[in-house]
């Protein structure tokens, strides 16, 4: 029996304000609150809230047969907490149905998987904690920022305890193979993979509202029929897309919500079920392993990482960011840790890309402005990090010094406790002695 596995990505970065050379050293607040608030309000109204409502309806109308999975980046969760807490409430409602799975990713929706492995691990843990705090479950399946995947990344993810991961069904990786099966990683045979079905996912994310498409208008029964018509042996259809497809990319007028609402009915008619990734991994075995030497993603025609680290500017910025990784982790200041996450969002690098000049959303006029602004902010950030501890001390030395200080602190504390205990015993003995007298 075929099953459809829906996955939606939700992310919003903390966008930077205009930060000039003279601000370096003087102004330590980097974010454009007005723009960020405005954007998340707009998207919550147009997309998150009505889409969540639609999902809930679909779960109810299908009698609990409809399943869906989300990954919400820590950045997006923080913004929702600040500006639109009603969205968090509506996700909690969805979580309560038991038909929704939350996946894990990097807290900052960052490129740490391509940079520093320790930072990557740290961010994933932070994301797991956040999901647990808000929704009461700890994620079991992983999906990396923008579905970036490679053999090295699969090793890291497996090392963190995950047994299942989502990624892109890129043509240059699959070749003649179909994405409608479960696969495993070539280097970690126990890590199962679900690959996005490009054609069906993009029918919804790209072509749904395009009048010039030969299949316009796409109706739910036609879509389900296509899925049902895939070969018998292909058991899982992976539909992965950005949640903004519902309402933001395709506004409500295109009929996208009605389309979704009709899906469970037609799927039931054709005997197609819905599953969460965990359920798929539990039921199906991998049919083959795939090897990915160079990182892939779900972005652009190339399905690689050139949108983020393709040109010299991006590589330079990414390099400078990773250079202070270790130092930041030694810092105890909360503001620095917070800014550190915000500065790592992949969006900052995306805006520096020279690949999509003219298309795509960017708060900057051109990639050079994006680079300039980001580097100014990063310069100020580096100044703050370096100001914490003297620059002459290397990270390892610093680390060992801090550990020594911590250990000594703990020792002193336990010695104090011992002294208190002995004092109390002495007091008690004295009392007994005087009583005996």
């Amino acid at each position: 029996m075929k099953t459809i596995c829906f996955y939606f990505q939700i992310h919003q970065p903390f966008r930077l304000k205009r930060y000039r050379f003279f601000d370096i050293g003087n102004d330590h607040y980097y974010y454009d609150d007005f723009q960020n608030e405005e954007i998340i309000h707009r998207i919550a109204e147009r997309c998150y809230l009505p889409a969540n409502k639609t999902m809930l309806e679909m779960i109810k109308s299908s009698g609990g047969k409809f399943k869906v999975s989300f990954s919400i980046s820590g950045m997006a969760l923080e913004q929702m907490e600040i500006y639109t807490p009603e969205v968090i409430d509506s996700f909690k409602e969805l979580a309560a149905t038991g038909n929704v799975e939350f996946l894990s990713e990097t807290y900052a929706h960052s490129l740490a998987s391509l940079g520093d492995p320790a930072e990557f691990k740290h961010q994933v843990e932070k994301q797991e904690d956040k999901i647990q705090t808000l929704f009461g479950v700890r994620p079991k399946v992983f999906r990396n920022t923008e579905l970036i995947y490679s053999d090295d990344i699969s090793e890291l993810v497996y090392g963190m305890g995950y047994r299942g991961m989502l990624t892109e069904g890129a043509k240059h990786i699959l070749g003649w193979k179909s994405p409608n099966y479960v696969y495993s990683s070539m280097v970690e045979s126990n890590l199962k993979l679900l690959l996005k079905n490009d054609r069906f996912s993009e029918d919804l994310s790209d072509r749904f509202a395009n009048y010039n498409w030969s299949e316009y208008p796409l109706t739910a029964d036609k879509y389900i029929r296509w899925i049902a018509d895939t070969p018998e042996s292909e058991q899982v259809i992976n539909l992965f897309m950005n949640y903004e497809v519902l309402g933001s990319l395709h506004p409500a007028e295109t009929g996208i919500f009605e389309f979704f609402k009709a899906l469970p009915r037609f799927a039931a008619e054709k005997g197609i079920s819905f599953s969460t990734p965990s359920e798929v991994f539990a039921l199906m075995k991998p049919v083959d392993s795939i090897s990915v030497a160079y990182p892939i993603s779900w972005v652009d025609e190339e399905r690689d990482c050139s949108s983020w680290i393709g040109n010299t500017l991006q590589q330079e910025a990414f390099r400078k960011l990773n250079e202070i990784c270790g130092r930041v982790r030694l810092s105890q200041t909360r503001r620095i840790r917070q800014d550190w996450y915000y500065l790592q969002s992949s969006d900052h690098f995306y805006y520096m890309s020279t690949k999509h000049l003219g298309t795509g959303f960017s708060p900057y006029d051109n990639p050079y402005d994006a680079f300039n602004n980001y580097m100014n902010v990063l310069s100020d950030f580096i100044v703050r990090v370096k100001a914490e501890f003297p620059e002459t001390i290397e990270n390892e030395e610093l680390n060992s010094l801090l550990t020594t200080i911590k250990n000594q602190g703990e020792e002193i504390e336990s010695l104090h406790k011992e002294i208190d205990r002995l004092k109390r015993r002495e007091k008690v003995e004295k009392k007994e002695k005087t009583a005996l007298k």
Binding site: F21, L313, Q315, A317, R319, D380
Partner: protein, 420 residues
């Protein structure tokens, strides 16, 4: 002595050195009690300082007769021009230009900048100059920069008065030898028809003699100078937020100004002295290339681009700087190092710039010598004694470079021509 001057920019709406030089020169000359200057620019904004000269906007001079009355003209023009002058000009329209695209007052539009149709605007400017030349009274014509040479020639033909052309820059310089033929033609024509040619440096004088084939006796150098700073500007505080030393490049980011040498030298300095920051202030066609180059040399965290700085912002950048660098490949004069030295910032200039001829207390290097440039930058930021020396002596030297002296030299040239 009445002078009719043709220019293209005037402060506060300036785009480069031409506006600054025009202002300084006319201010300096106005100190002579019997000097009367009429200065024509394509598009005045109304906020120019007219206390020492009269500004005529070429976009308010009619070339086609329009039947309008005083009130209408006053409504339209009173902010920028005396309405009566409009009618004086109108009475001197000399040919039928009604086929031209003119506005309701019979005037041509000008952008006031350097648009794509620059040659067309230059031609229009010279047409309007014909009306002005026939209306105004003057003893001598002075055309600033190649854009106004056709206008100057036209005025000379109309009035028979001597023409002085002021070469602020040559296309030969700007293009490093591969001139634009139309621009070269205008420049040469202007120089051929002039009674005298003034250049802003000996460097430019040699270019004019050798590349434009002019008679050396006809060419004189009058070096540019710098306006003394307002106390308000002098008291601008150092606004930078970091303790690092700041090395600044301020100017158009284009081939002529040698920005790539600055970036390369910066990379060398940072290898030795990592607590330095480099600022490239300004904009231009090579800005994106420079951002790429800085990224390639791995110095983007210490190399900052500020974009175009207007008016007071320029001085804010100077006040925050420890060194000013002008590695120009070929600079006719270069007023910005003087402005920097006025703010107490030691300057490093290329030997191929005009101001090197008159500055003694600035460090001079060949523009292509990145090692020397890096060395100079390093020593000024590392040795406080050198910094102090250049700062003090430089300021003294520059305070003595006055537009008044330049104005006097020009007056002597005028006197020779008028009394011939």
């Amino acid at each position: 002595m009445k002078a009719l001057m043709f220019g293209w920019e005037f402060p506060p709406h300036i785009l480069g050195g031409l506006g600054t030089a025009s202002y300084g020169l006319t201010r300096g000359m106005a100190l002579q009690p019997d000097m009367d200057i009429t200065f024509c620019i394509p598009k005045p904004w109304g906020d120019e300082d007219q206390s020492f000269l009269k500004i005529v906007g070429m976009n308010n001079v009619p070339i086609v007769w329009r039947d309008v009355n005083m009130d209408y003209v006053r409504n339209r023009l009173s902010k920028v021009m005396d309405p009566q002058k409009y009618f004086d000009f109108r009475n001197h329209i000399y040919a039928d230009f009604s086929y031209r695209h003119v506005n309701d007052l019979g005037c041509l539009e000008f952008s006031g900048r350097y648009p794509d149709n620059l040659l067309e605007e230059i031609n229009n400017y010279s047409i309007v100059a014909g009306v002005v030349a026939r209306t105004e009274q003057y003893d001598i014509i002075h055309a600033h920069d190649w854009l106004t040479y056709p206008a100057g020639i036209h005025a000379k033909n109309v009035s028979g008065k001597p023409l002085v052309v002021h070469v602020h820059a040559t296309d030969y310089d700007r293009s490093r030898g591969s001139v634009n033929p139309s621009v070269y033609a205008i420049e040469k024509n202007g120089m051929d028809n002039a009674d005298h040619i003034i250049t802003v440096s000996n460097l430019t004088r040699l270019t004019v003699i050798e590349k434009y084939h002019q008679d050396p006796a006809k060419v004189t150098t009058v070096h540019n100078a710098v306006e003394p700073l307002d106390p308000e500007i002098l008291s601008i505080p150092d606004k930078k937020g970091v303790k690092d030393k700041i090395v600044t490049f301020l100017g158009r980011i284009t081939m002529q100004k040698g920005p790539e040498y600055f970036v390369e030298a910066a990379a060398k300095v940072l290898a030795k002295s990592p607590h330095t920051r480099f600022v490239m202030a300004g904009s231009g066609d090579m800005m994106n290339q420079m951002i790429q180059l800085a990224a390639k040399r791995d110095i983007s965290d210490r190399f900052h681009f500020t974009g175009f700085m207007k008016g007071k912002q320029v001085y804010e950048v100077f006040k925050a700087s420890d060194v000013y660098v002008m590695p120009s490949v070929s600079e006719p004069f270069g007023i910005s190092p003087l402005e920097a030295m006025q703010c107490g910032v030691p300057s490093i200039i290329s030997k191929q710039s005009g101001c090197a001829e008159i500055l003694n207390y600035a460090v001079k290097v060949d523009y292509w010598d990145i090692e020397a440039l890096a060395d100079a930058m390093y020593s000024i930021i590392t040795y406080p004694a050198l910094h102090k020396f250049l700062q003090e002596e430089g300021k003294k030297e520059v305070d003595n470079i006055k537009w008044e002296y330049a104005g006097q030299k020009i007056r002597r040239i005028y006197d020779t021509l008028v009394n011939k």
